[in-house]
Symmetry: C2
Subunit: 285 residues, 2 copies
């Protein structure tokens, strides 16, 4: 069964020239894209590319598919755009990164003009927001900026990822903490965090395999649990709040740039986005 995503992978390989770049442009890993192309070939019973480590070339069967695949994808995009455009009609559809403080969103919403319906918020992880932007399902997003040339961006601030502990925690007085010191610390898993894999790798590489007393996708819940002393966690600096202390973790030098993304540079000047940007302040150092 040929499915849309398979054709997207196929076209991405053609447009990007190799599997790895194609994977990046589809926001999936390289093995995923490889498997997808293989599945498409199996579906059709025909090889579509001749691969070498240097270059990827279309076979005859592949060449025959290109035009059709482009037509299909164009129709899909058109359908999505039509519905999206019809829907927009003065309304700002805004994506909000899940690992972003609720306070920002709450303050923004609280300050909105009374006449409702002007803004539509969509919370999601980084990749989901990028996908939605690409499909035209949202107009802009408050998320991580990575210099993707497909979108207009406005960086608001940069922050490091830090260790979050209860203010009552014995180690909270320390200025710098190392993974090895945290062997016996229960750790709360913030499932939506874009750096979850990296974090887990950091600890396991140092022989630290903590117990996980909680796994949540809500930062607010995670913060409450950390403050209550259930465990510690790693989070962006802006995660901090009452009863929670943020401390640097040794050899863990990850940062993120938070900003606004939009498919159209003009949109970045939207008054509501301006207001949102004003409300999003860098956390006190």
């Amino acid at each position: 069964m040929i499915d849309r995503y398979l054709l997207r992978y196929f076209l991405a390989v053609i447009d990007q020239g190799n599997f790895s770049r194609a994977a990046a442009s589809c926001n999936v890993s390289q093995p995923t894209l490889s498997a997808g192309v293989a599945k498409l070939e199996a579906s059709l019973g025909r090889q579509l590319f001749t691969r070498s480590n240097r270059r990827v070339a279309l076979t005859e069967a592949g060449a025959r598919l290109v035009a059709r695949a482009r037509r299909i994808e164009a129709e899909f995009l058109q359908a999505e755009r039509e519905a999206g455009a019809a829907r927009a009609a003065g309304r700002l559809r805004l994506g909000i990164l899940s690992s972003t403080p609720t306070r920002w969103t709450a303050d923004f919403v609280a300050a909105l003009p009374r006449d409702a319906g002007e803004v539509e918020l969509v919370e999601g992880r980084e990749r989901e927001l990028i996908d939605r932007l690409t499909r035209g399902r949202i107009d802009a997003a408050l998320t991580i900026v990575r210099g993707n040339p497909r979108f207009a961006a406005r960086v608001l601030f940069e922050e490091p990822y830090l260790l979050a502990l209860s203010a009552a925690h014995p180690l909270s007085a320390r200025e710098l903490l190392a993974a090895e010191e945290l062997v016996d610390e229960p750790m709360i898993v913030r499932r939506q965090c874009e750096l979850l894999g990296e974090t887990s790798r950091h600890f396991t590489a140092r022989g630290v395999r903590p117990f996980f007393p909680a796994r949540t996708t809500s930062d607010d819940r995670a913060r409450a649990l950390v403050a209550a002393g259930l465990g510690i966690t790693v989070a962006p600096a802006s995660f901090g709040g009452e009863g929670v202390v943020m401390r640097p973790l040794a050899e863990f030098d990850h940062r993120r740039e938070i900003g606004l993304l939009a498919s159209d540079a003009a949109l970045l000047a939207h008054p509501l986005l301006e207001r949102l940007a004003d409300g999003v302040a860098a956390p006190a150092p």
Copy 2:
């Protein structure tokens, strides 16, 4: 993200006039189709149908989507057909129902002419074979015939579903068995069986909740286990074999028609299908 299957559901509703028939024509359950249409509407941010319990009508947004959806599906089908047709090239691609005796397939293959590559066999469950036929990924199938008007059919024989027990089993001498007598019998689960749900319902409805010492997707393995006395099972009459006794189960009057399906009536006359049909004999009563 609009996906192909969503558009198929959408078009099926239009073509069939209501959700239930549309679901049947897509080989999915009615709730699945309902959820699919709902998801498509959410994706587009627009209602596509106005529903009542009597009739389903397109909204304006729905009407705008129809032509585009048809073009997309037509292109997909065309792509599949092209590849399939190119592939066929004299080769017969034949689907074989999983719950069909291995013997039939084995005899058929053994009797094939030496020049290989003339036949390609695909084993699968009923729905998978129907899907493949629909997509043109196989040319014909030896499977259950239900009078689907989309396919040309040739019924070969009909058989009941019976209880299978080891020949050494104390109950094997009985001519008719009731579910209630089987309370303490371990039961082997033939996972691929098209009647699995019905069978399980039959027993649970009578308060019989057997222990399952084995769950398998291979009838050959299931037969070996039954013969070895590990447990009993319910299967089509043709499941029987050495060391296994088939007995009717009281109040369990299910039958199936086995036959050949093909998208094209002319194909049913294919000499290899004739030979297959000859080899597939009804089991001795």
